[in-house]
Structures are given as structure tokens and as C-alpha cells.
Symmetry: C2
Subunit: 370 residues, 2 copies
């Protein structure tokens, strides 16, 4: 009788176990995986630098809210975990899951990456977004970064920058001969080919270098950031237009393995949040730059001037030549160059009768504005 | 003995039941509310019209993926549930949860709404985003639409449009006197004040009206959409720049009660998805317009011309006068007008030395391009 009793008890318990198992799997079908991903995002920006430095924090906050805390990203400024120029490798090697910066910082290792930030006399912010998201650019960027186990996303833009700060007036091409200017990336190579001397130093050291005369000129971003850096104290002339960076795209890079480990809903959130911040950061610069420019002129007596035609023409001539040589023997780099060049030709043809024609018509009738 | 057996079995089953209960509640604590929201989004666009009509579908798809199917939005074209111009009321009354369209369609009921789409000689797409998201514009838009139980979100932009299609050449201001043109919104009022006759007919009826001579001219969007509508078959002259709509923002409107009923994570997804599509649609137009323009010119012999200076100046003079009268006695409308006017003044001052100065420098050196 005892044996029978034990047998029956076991049968009952097994049945319960089975029921539990079913219930568990039933629940799993309804409810998405609730695992919490605690990620680290390293950036090339000084911690909380207005604009570019704050955007990654905003990005992380939106993702935390959308994911109900399932995706928690901690943002680190340049040098906190890795130096500014170590971001690419840190994410590529998987030491951290994410990074935020600008592709042209990696030109030493990936020359073609520069096409995905800015090319002198190249695409504006609106044209860059058009090329990346509806002109085949994004697919080429993904192909290029796949070599380094990275998934790239466009995540911010500063709009047309300024040509930079100069400690003397630029009257003609002669005035930039031998001039020492802090100008990184492709713009630097062009400046050198045009007779100047390009120096590349981190943002934090620019002010002192100008003050001590190590450099005669520098470019940084635009009025909003340049005012905060106090460049008006070490240079009097502020030149435009920003021929070297007409609409630099900022990048969010994600380690491929980390990206693939996310469930589809979180992957989609990453893409949407990047798209949102891509517009939001450009909007912030568009809204803040003018007030800063006014303060620079009114309060600090900065002289704003346009680069002379002969300087602009020489910089254009040289950059067209240099950019055509950039791809070298890399077939993918050639493909990227051709795609970028064709898009610029096509898009600027329409920009001629849309954006440019409108801005000129608005300016030419501004005397009638109230 | 039997009784004991049954007692023991019951005890075992109760124990199991308890275990199940605990496990269930344990899971419930971790998991966010899994309620599924099945919403309807009505639009002012012909179903699946390239660009503006497809954007809402893309928006719904992204939200479905991000929410793991918790937010399922069905998109309806103009006339499927409510007519194009009935979208505002349908969402305001809560008959449907969402809508997609353009704020200036509601000018009859809400004159100040036009500031949130486009103002003649007003802000470009980039400047509109700057004003809305970092210049105080969005807060004013929310304040205005709160009167109608609506939450507005910027959700798309076409960029600078074309001035339109004309069946004869415009040599001077005299040529538009008495001319019958399909031009809605604020642009129509300006066209009338400049001597023309503005007609407002839905997109679907424009072609026939041009063909039968009911109207002499029409504006629609830009090459990408205009080519599809076949306007080149009924008009030879295609004029620029789109003075009437320099960067029209499209709106996503959500019924306030419906919006408040969403959990915070889904509300955040709505905002991020709107921000994403706001950039994505502009990118699509930027990438598609030129190929369409080329086809119009090369394949269909369309003549592309710039409006004469005296026409542009008169349209500017008249619009400055009309827009200043738009607010009437509504204090909020006055506040919106002042905010918009100040932002245009400030932003265009920086646009002068950034966007405009760069586009001109690029164009003036294009002879050096490869």
C-alpha cells in the first residue's frame, strides 16, 4: 500500500511539474525577453561639451525610456576610459559596446571613412542625410565598417562650420603660405597642398597653442562651441564659409557582436534613436549658432569676414585633386568615392534651383522684411 | 487508508498550485504592461503617394517593431475613413487616435497653424527644425493644439518646393495678373494679393483642371512627386524657387486622451519615431528630386525657369504685410508670430555666412569639380 501511495504522489508531482513547464513556455511566447543590457558608450568629445558632447547623453536617455530600462547605456567623455582617438579600436575590439564620434578621425587606419563625415566643398547636412539614407551611402558605410566588426549609424550633424579663427587678415592666397593652422582630417591635407602647414591637436589644447603662437590659426566647429572655448581672446578674425566641413555627419558605432546580441526590438530602437538625434543635434546648432555669433561680434569685437575668392578657388582645385586620389587601390574605397561624387553632382543640381535659389531670393528681398 | 491517500494527493496538488501562483506573480513583477494598442492613423495623402504618403506607413512599421507589436497602427489614405480635410477633426474628436498631414490645411479653423507648416519666404527645413526643437516653436505648437485635444509632432519635410507649373512664360509681374493658379494655404492669399486668382483643389483633381483650362497654373510639391502626377503633359514651364513653401513641416497629430493612455515607453517611442521620420522623409526628397528633374527636362522637354525679380519682390512685399496681420486678436497667435519672426531674423543671419555662403562658394567653383 505504501508503495502505491508513493507512486501516486510522484505521479501528481510530475503532473504539476509538467503544468509548470507548459505555463512557463506559454508566458515566454507572450512576453518579450526582459534581460537588461548594461552598455558603455565611449566618445571622442570632452564630457558634456555643449552640442556634440551632450547628444550621446540624450541618446542614452531616450533609449533607456523607450526600452523601459532594458537598454542602459553609460556615456564616457574622451579620456575617461579610452582617449578620444582610441574610440574606434575600443568598440571594434569589443572592449566597449558603443562609441560616438566622427568617422574622419580614423583616416589613418580607414582613409575612405572621411567620406562619411565631410569632404571639402562636399555635401551639406541635408545632402549627407540624403546620400546616406536614400542614396546608397549607408550600405557602403556598413560594408566598410564590417571589416572592423562595427555597425555605423548617422547620429548628429553640426551643419556648415566656420572656416576658422585667424590672428591676421587674409587678403589673398599669399597670406596663408606657411601659415600654421590647426585643421584636422581631409581639410588639413588640402590646406597643406594650398601652401599652409596643417597641425592636428586635440580641442582642449587649441587655446594655449594659439596663445603661445604655436599656431597662427585654428578651426573648431562654429559660433556655439567656439564662443565657449574663448577663441575670441586669442584671435580677432573669424572667417567663413566652412569649405572644409559643409555638413559633417557624426557617427554612432556599435560592436557587431554586441549589436547582433540584442533582440530585434532593441535593435530597432537603436536605429530610431540615432535617426532622432541625427536631426536633433543639427537643430540645436541651427538654433544656437546665431546668438553666439552676435555675442562674438557685439560683445567681443570679433571681425567676421569671407575668405577671398582666390583662396576659395585654390582650396577647391586642390581638394578635387586630392579627393580623387584618396581611394588608392581599395576597390571599396573607389566605389564609395564614385557614389559620393555622383550624388554630389546630382543633388547639387537640384540644390541650385531649390535651397540655393531660395536662400538667395530671400536674402535679396530682405530689405522688405518686417 | 483510501482517505489518507486522497488527503496526501490533495496536499501535493495544493503545494504545486501554490508553486505555480508564486512563479506567475514573480514573472508579472518583472514584465511591463503587455496590453496591445490597435490604433488608426488617418492621413491627408492619397494612399501610398511616394514620399509623403509612404512616410506614415514607415512610421507605423518602425513603431510596431520597436514596441514588439504592443503598438499596432493601421494607416488610411485620404478618403478611406475620412476625407483629406477631415483629418484634424477626426483626431480632435477622438474618432481615430492619430493623423498625418500638414498644419496649414487647418487654416480655416486655426489660422496660426500655418506657421507650423510653411510661411512664404520663411524658414527652410533645417531652420524649421531648429525653431521647433530648440527655438521654442514646439511648445507654442503644443499650446495651440491643446485647444483641440491634440498633441502635435513634426514628422516629415519636403524641403524647398518648386514655384509650380505654368502654361505660359512669366516675363514680369503683369503676366500673373488674373492668372488662375491652384495654390493653397498662405501662398494662395499672397498670390491673390499680388494680382492672381488662387484656387484650392485636392491633388487628385489638379491634372484635369489644368487640362481643361479651369486653371492656368499649379504648384504641387517638387520634381519627385510632380513627375508622377504627369504635370509635364499639361504645362511646359516649371518655375523656381518655391517662395511659398521653403521647408514645409509635416505633422503627426495624436488625440490627447489617446496619447495620455499610453505607457511612458510607448509615448517615448512615438516621439523618437516622429524625429526619425522627420529627417528620413526630407532625405528621401533630397535624394529623389534631381533624378526626377532630369527626366522632366531631358525626356519630357520641360523648361525650367527662375521667377523674375519683380515677381519675387512683389510676392515678398505682399507676404510680409499679410503675415503680420495673420494673428488678428489672438494673443497666442501673436506670440507664435513674434517667435517665428525673431527666429527667422536670427537664424537667417547665420545662414547667410554658413549655408548660403557655402552653397554659393561651391557653385562658383564648380568649374573646378571633377
Amino acid at each position: 500500500m505504501r508503495k502505491l501511495l508513493i507512486l501516486l504522489l510522484c505521479a501528481a508531482l510530475v503532473a504539476c511539474g509538467g503544468k509548470q513547464a507548459n505555463q512557463a513556455s506559454g508566458a515566454a511566447e507572450k512576453v518579450p525577453e526582459q534581460k537588461v543590457y548594461k552598455w558603455r558608450m565611449v566618445t571622442t568629445w570632452p564630457k558634456n561639451l555643449p552640442g556634440v558632447g551632450v547628444a550621446p547623453e540624450r541618446l542614452a536617455e531616450v533609449l533607456r525610456k523607450m526600452s523601459n530600462g532594458r537598454l542602459q547605456i553609460t556615456v564616457y567623455g574622451a579620456g575617461e576610459i579610452v582617449p578620444a582617438l582610441g574610440v574606434f579600436d575600443a568598440v571594434s575590439l569589443g572592449n566597449v559596446e558603443m562609441g560616438h564620434g566622427a568617422a574622419y578621425y580614423w583616416k589613418g587606419k580607414v582613409p575612405a571613412a572621411q567620406f562619411f563625415t565631410a569632404v571639402p566643398f562636399g555635401l551639406t547636412a541635408q545632402e549627407m542625410n540624403g546620400w546616406l539614407h536614400h542614396g546608397g551611402g549607408m550600405e557602403l558605410w556598413e560594408k566598410l565598417y564590417a571589416r572592423y566588426n562595427l555597425v555605423p549609424l548617422a547620429a548628429g550633424n553640426t551643419g556648415v562650420q566656420m572656416a576658422g579663427w585667424f590672428n591676421k587678415e587674409i587678403k589673398s592666397l599669399d597670406d596663408i603660405q606657411g601659415m600654421k593652422m590647426r585643421i584636422p582630417g581631409f581639410g588639413g591635407e588640402v590646406f597643406e597642398a594650398a601652401g599652409g602647414t596643417a597641425v592636428n591637436i586635440p580641442g582642449g589644447e587649441i587655446f594655449t597653442s594659439m596663445q603661445t603662437g604655436v599656431i597662427d590659426a585654428t578651426e573648431w566647429i562654429g559660433p556655439y562651441n567656439d564662443l565657449a572655448f574663448g577663441f575670441y581672446q586669442v584671435a580677432k578674425y573669424y572667417y567663413y564659409p566652412g569649405w572644409q566641413e559643409p555638413g559633417p555627419t557624426l557617427e554612432m558605432i556599435v560592436n557587431k557582436k554586441a549589436f547582433d546580441s540584442l533582440p530585434p526590438d532593441l535593435q530597432e530602437m537603436l536605429r530610431a534613436a540615432a535617426g532622432m538625434i541625427n536631426e536633433d543635434l543639427l537643430s540645436e546648432y541651427t538654433a544656437r549658432n546665431n546668438a553666439a555669433l552676435e555675442e562674438l561680434v557685439q560683445k567681443h569685437g570679433v571681425i567676421v569676414k569671407r575668405l577671398p575668392d582666390d583662396v576659395l578657388r585654390e582650396l577647391r582645385r586642390v581638394s578635387e585633386d586630392l579627393v580623387s586620389k584618396l581611394p588608392g587601390d581599395d576597390p571599396l574605397a573607389k566605389e564609395i568615392y564614385e557614389s559620393y561624387r555622383k550624388f554630389r553632382k546630382d543633388a547639387s543640381a537640384y540644390t541650385e534651383i531649390s535651397e540655393r535659389a531660395f536662400l538667395n531670393a530671400r536674402a535679396e528681398t530682405d530689405d522688405l522684411a518686417q
